[in-house]
């Protein structure tokens, strides 16, 4: 694995680091940053800071993608609750959680039976429910898409910044080399003349 020097870490430690959700792993985030850094040749402290921000964007994309599915579940839960006559199931959270398990294929037998009963009550098939849920949640799903798009745009800006830092360091290196060449030439001329 790519290991960072302490001096290179400095800017990243000075900046407030991206915060993670309670169920997310810090180690996974760091390993993802290391993976991105390994693609850079001798990353500068600023590069490390920029790559960390870029990785945060990737994580936001993941979160908003999960949210898109959750929005659909919320909307489907609302449709089922509206159709249901029992007061005790009039809770979107419970239906939403049950639907999440139902579509992921890991729902308990009780939840599966409950969702099937609700579907029967609402006189809907799973695909009907999904289509209607999508129609109702379209506005919010579009918003989630725009949030994802914003993260892509941000990543493009960060990539540009990383390229600019890289270009600058290459420029300095090139100027150093040219300067050394001039110095060597000058020394050679001095030696010839003497």
């Amino acid at each position: 694995m790519f290991i960072l020097k302490d001096s290179v870490k400095s800017i990243a430690t000075l900046l407030p680091s991206p915060r993670l959700l309670p169920d997310e792993s810090e180690a996974e985030f760091q390993s993802s940053v290391q993976g991105l850094l390994s693609e850079l040749d001798k990353p500068s402290p600023l590069n490390v800071a920029l790559v960390t921000q870029l990785n945060e964007c990737l994580w936001w994309i993941k979160r908003h993608t999960v949210d898109k599915e959750l929005l659909l579940h919320e909307s489907m839960a609302k449709i089922l609750c509206r159709a249901d006559t029992y007061r005790d199931v009039y809770d979107n959270h419970l239906v939403s959680a049950a639907l999440e398990g139902f579509f992921a294929g890991n729902a308990s037998k009780k939840d599966e039976q409950w969702v099937n009963d609700l579907l029967k009550e609402a006189k809907l098939t799973v695909s009907d429910l999904r289509a209607r849920g999508f129609k109702d949640a379209a506005k919010h799903i579009k918003m989630a898409d725009e949030l994802i798009h914003r993260q892509y745009q941000t990543m493009r800006h960060l990539q540009k910044s990383i390229d600019a830092v890289d270009f600058k360091s290459r420029l300095i290196k090139r100027m150093d080399l040219e300067l050394t060449t001039f110095e060597n030439n000058a020394l050679a001329i001095d030696a010839k003349s003497s």
Partner: protein, 169 residues
């Protein structure tokens, strides 16, 4: 038309209600109805982090002006992203009581509280309206999506400064 003494009294009273006058008062009232706090101007240049960042960037070969610009852009971007995280993790809570209440079932309670039938009707209409608004906002995921969506423009503004600050002349 109000009488002259009444007009004078109104003018005198209005001059008393011009909001806070002291610096502390103005600062306190500027935080009224604060949502994400991104419209508040922040003086990064007086912070220690800014000074350390600037010196580190100078060591990296950036000119003092460029280092200052990059440090401000980075801190500004981080501030927006922290506000984004806060908005995402703490959306407006769902008022479950309002969402789930049955206005029809609540009518006897309204009748007990209010004697006039018009008042009961108004009360029922008020609660039905509140319930519609609450239901339109959707669940927690919809709420956080809407709230985060409002921060897009701040994010766009913050990040667009960064490449401009770093770009070599």
């Amino acid at each position: 038309m109000p009488s002259p003494p009444k007009t004078l009294t109104s003018r005198r009273n209005a001059q008393r209600s011009t909001g806070p006058t002291s610096t502390e008062g103005k600062l306190a009232s500027s935080r009224n109805s604060r949502k994400h706090g991104l419209t508040v101007q922040v003086d990064f240049e007086s912070s220690d982090v800014y000074a350390s960042l600037k010196s580190l960037l100078s060591e990296e070969g950036f000119s003092s002006f460029m280092a200052a610009d990059i440090a401000t852009s980075l801190l500004h971007y981080r501030r927006v992203m922290d506000a984004y995280y806060d908005t995402y993790t703490s959306p407006e809570p769902v008022n479950e009581l309002m969402r789930d209440m049955s206005v029809t079932d609540s009518m006897p309670i309204f009748r007990e509280m209010l004697s006039e039938p018009d008042d009961v009707r108004d009360m029922a209409a008020f609660f039905a309206n509140m319930q519609r608004k609450e239901q339109r906002k959707g669940g927690p995921v919809s709420r956080r999506t809407v709230d985060c969506h409002k921060l897009i423009r701040y994010q766009r503004h913050a990040i667009s400064r960064l490449p401009k600050a770093i770009r070599p002349a």
